[in-house]
């Protein structure tokens, strides 16, 4: 029933899940590794991972008895795309034209750095 963007924002609306994504931004990790810093049970962390997976923010592979988690940024890109339309409200340098140009750049696969 929930659209992808709602799933993404809902997944991000929890500090534990945001911390998990931050951890994964430094590299893949197993469930136990991910759970270690948190003062909650392993099943609780497992549920958070399920929410993140449901939102497409992580994927899980299998390696023996471990299930390494991997960050998937595509939904974050979509969330960013939604927020981008409001940038002009907080940043004077992003007026409508700038915003349009930025979206062009973001959507263009050629790499001009």
């Amino acid at each position: 029933m929930s659209d992808p963007l709602s799933l993404t924002f809902a997944a991000l609306a929890d500090p534990t899940r945001r911390a998990i994504l931050a951890r994964l931004s430094e590299g893949d990790a197993t469930v136990n590794d991910i759970a270690a810093p948190f003062e909650m049970s392993l099943p609780a962390v497992s549920k958070h991972l399920k929410v993140l997976e449901g939102a497409g923010l992580i994927t899980r592979s299998r390696s023996a008895q471990w299930r390494p988690c991997h960050l998937e940024a595509a939904p974050l890109k979509d969330a960013d795309g939604w927020i981008a339309r409001y940038r002009r409200f907080w940043d004077a340098s992003f007026d409508r034209l700038d915003d349009y140009l930025r979206e062009l750049q973001a959507g263009d696969p050629d790499k001009k750095s």
Copy 2:
């Protein structure tokens, strides 16, 4: 109990509330104006507005018996700031240096946060 960022993402995790913000991005509006496009009761919309207000995404003033709603983008800026750290994962043109330069550009013009 919820931190501001969680409140913001939770508020965005509903298509009705996102549509309300989109409407307000075109100008202030009263509750009835906001509710008109939706197939739900007025109290339901009023509750959504309360959630948005609780997240700091809107403010409400009073003008006679109307309560015009106004978009407040500051929490969106914070949400964007959180997501920004992941930009390098989906956009090759935003490597760490580009990201740093972007934040400089975004942070300089108005220093009100």
